[in-house]
Amino acid sequence: MNILVCIKQVLAAAVRVFPDADTRWIRSDSDEYVMNRFDEFAVEAALQLREALSDGRVDVISVGPERAEAVIRRALGMGADDGIHIITKTCGPIPPAVTAALMAASVRNRNYDLILTGVMSEDDMNAQVGPAMAEMLDLPCATAVIQIERRGISTVYVEREMEGGMRDALEIRLPALLSVQSGAHPPRYPSLSRMLRANRRPIETIPSTDLGMTAPDIHVVRTAFPGKTRAGYFLEGSASEKAAQLLKIFQARSLMR
């Protein structure tokens, strides 16, 4: 079974971000980028399938500027076989339908049995690229998947997560696309030896301009800090002053003696 995993490079969760009126997008105080965490789970799920079946390959694909190469290298370090990088020039956000169309166009004739994406990207949070790409490729699709098992040669059994701890079980005919929810199989760390090998491996690059495609237009008009729903009182002073203030607050509210 040949599997393709779509991986995105995103700003690390702890990086501070600010609205930017000029670009109508965002600014950040550092450029610490990581692999979207849900995509790490998708890579892990793919590697486990490959290991369980002891055949087939796991490739990864990413759409992004030059720096996105780092997440492809990381996935290779985790154990993926090959990487495809669709190189974009824009610094602004790429609409999810465009990202989906770019990837769909470049994998259409590559005969993957299974395409995995993360359930959503931590930065854009659209939860769209996977199911949109499935439709573009006319593939059956399930989202928020937390369990995947191979059944026979042409189907997989999956469980998708729903609200209230319920799961929807499905049997899906291959080829198919699944969006993977984080779950009980934490992604492995790239091993040092694999990482060294990964760094020497050639990565296929495709300029996004070669893929000519269109999608309905959506655009960002502005970005902002969200409003507060509570007092949001920031304690001031040194750490020990804050600790003393917090204790007083708890005592005043009889939350602590």
Binding site: M125, R160, P216
Partner: protein, 328 residues
């Protein structure tokens, strides 16, 4: 011809989900900015009771599509049946819920009907003369207002963002029945709904909940959270999904949309970013204190007290302050 805003009703277990009322509230707000008729569509088998509930509650016209064998949600069937219906009705806006169902069928539906798709909508505003849909980005730290000139737009409405009208409508809306010819999809075969065996581990009854997020950095630091929790009576340790995925805490301790909802008198969020999926499970707490090293963390927008500190140094310091003999 007036344009139409179509609401796709969500149901499960034979009941209309409360989020459907919120989608209607969103549609009504949109109607203020863009005059249009609102219609509700519901798919199912049987569909009669669902349609009657919708028409009585909202007073809006309902299209009830009897879809043979569709008792529960099924993505392929939803996309097929809705595509045919939308091609006929030509609504300007199509509003679904940003839930495990909406998330599953809405983006593909949009591609199929060549509509734009904006997910996780939590507000509607007008800016630069355009109708914009506000949604969270960057783990909830910022919002982005999104617009589209496309003739058709699919929206998914974030649960908890629009308040549903709880009173019944004075006159019920007309119901229009039809039957969809749906071939049992050979691509995705439903194998039933499984119920989880995970029971909440005391976090739903506790007066004080101390929750750990990925900001705790390491499994070892869970001990710190336990020590902080032990200072309070009637307290329990909870966590974000990531912490449970890591195996640092049990899934029975997970707070959020896919975990448990808690409303203790006090909720202390330690190293939690404040993603909407987490916040929806704790925002009803009496008093919320958050410790996070990022002054712009989204969790601070839903907190009463905000502490910008490294939890690894602040929590031990607080424990020491709270347990040292009082000066007076």
């Amino acid at each position: 011809m007036t344009s139409t805003i179509l609401v796709i009703a969500e149901h499960a277990d034979g009941q209309i989900r409360p989020v459907t009322g919120e989608i209607v509230a969103c549609a009504r707000q949109l109607q203020q900015l863009q005059p249009a008729d609102i219609r509700i569509v519901v798919l199912g088998d049987p569909v009669e009771t669902l349609a009657e509930t919708l028409s009585q509650k909202t007073g809006l016209p309902v299209d009830a599509i009897r879809t043979p064998h569709l008792a529960e949600y099924h993505g392929d069937t939803y996309r097929d049946v809705l595509t045919d219906f939308i091609k006929e009705l030509q609504p300007r806006y199509i509003c679904a819920a940003h839930t495990s169902q909406g998330l599953d069928f809405a983006p593909g539906l949009a591609v199929r009907i060549k509509a734009a798709c904006i997910t996780g909508v939590e507000a509607i505003v007008e800016a630069d003369g355009e109708i914009c849909f506000t949604r969270r980005i960057c783990g909830g730290k910022l919002t982005a207002d999104i617009a589209s000139p496309n003739a058709q737009i699919v929206l998914s409405v974030l649960p908890g963002s629009f308040s549903a009208d709880s009173s019944n409508a004075t006159t019920a809306g007309a119901i229009c029945y039809r039957t969809a010819i749906s071939e049992t999809s050979a691509r995705t075969i439903p194998c039933g709904v499984l119920r989880s065996s995970v029971k909440a581990s005391g976090i739903t009854e506790a007066d004080v909940v101390v929750a750990a997020g990925r900001g705790i950095g390491d499994r070892e630091n869970i001990a710190l959270i336990h020590r902080l929790t032990a200072l309070f009576s009637g307290s329990a340790v909870a966590g974000s999904r990531i912490v449970c995925d890591q195996g640092w805490l049990d899934y029975a301790q997970q707070v959020g949309v896919t975990g448990f909802s808690v409303q203790p008198a006090l909720y202390i969020a330690c190293g939690i970013s404040g993603a909407v999926q987490h916040v929806s499970g704790m925002r009803a707490s009496g008093f919320i204190v958050s410790i996070n090293s990022d002054p712009n963390a989204a969790i601070f927008n839903v907190s009463d007290i905000c502490i910008v500190e490294d939890l690894k140094t602040f929590i031990p310091l607080f424990i020491e302050t709270a347990t040292s003999p009082h000066p007076d």
